[in-house]
Amino acid sequence: MNEDTREFHPIPAKPTRLSHWYLLTGLVIGLILGLVYTWWINPVVYQSAQPANLHQTYKDAYRSAIAQVFAATGNFERAVLRLELLEDKDPIFTLGAQAQRALAEGKEDEAKALALLAAALQATAPQATALPATETQVENTPQQGAPIVIPTATLNLVPTQTLPVLTPIP
């Protein structure tokens, strides 16, 4: 056997075990692309929003309209139903705060209507959160020149738990 006829035995390559991580990578890339498309490029367009989804400015206008209608008609039940649509966490406080803002802007009638509705809500609130009668005196119909009672956050009392009295051990 000379140099030309010598057999060449290549070392067989070890079979490499390819991992399947590339599948997960593809899945994640696809997921990101899908979310980018649905959240930024072509998001869901709401054609039937609820009053609670309105921008704060419009919510205030909506709330103000509810209060003014209540002041004009005295229909408390309807006002409460409408107010619920705004999903305010604390409607009494929200109405009171808006009344203060309206008063600061010189919108006295609006402030009075908002305060009136807040007071009416306060009056129908459970006893635990109700104020003494002297602090929530509100007339049913607003009158010109009447003092505006604006409930504030501090007026919304939270019931506290009283600790049991310890009995002396003999």
Partner: protein, 118 residues
């Protein structure tokens, strides 16, 4: 088919599956939530209720210009047309006759207002 080519095909399939999952999540499971919606995007029954509120206030105040201003502020482009649409909706959905009458009065007042300003 070579192993390398097969891997590329599976990779592309995985991306497509991911996109499908992403679209499903983005549209069905966790769609974008709008927190600052404009009044035009309100459901029509809510728009009608707002118009009814304006009509109730108009009955109390008798100020058609103020009523129109309230409607325009809420994004109503053509108050007169909008009130008429609301009346039709109210009639179709059996609103109380008194409420429909209030909206009719408002529609008339705003139409008169438009005639005055033209």
């Amino acid at each position: 088919m070579s192993n390398r080519r097969l891997r590329w095909i599976f990779f592309m399939v995985a991306i497509l599956v991911g996109i499908a999952a992403g679209v499903f999540i983005g549209y069905q499971v966790a769609p974008v939530q709008y927190q600052d919606a404009v009044p035009q995007s309100l459901r029509f029954d809510y728009q009608t209720d707002y118009i009814l509120m304006v009509a109730e206030l108009y009955q109390d105040e008798g100020n058609a210009a103020l009523a129109a201003a309230r409607l325009i502020f809420m994004g109503v482009q053509n108050p007169s047309e909008m009130v008429v649409s609301a009346i039709i909706f109210a009639q179709e959905n059996q609103y109380a006759p008194k409420d429909i009458q209030l909206m009719n009065d408002l529609a008339r007042a705003i139409q008169d207002l438009n005639l005055d300003t033209q």
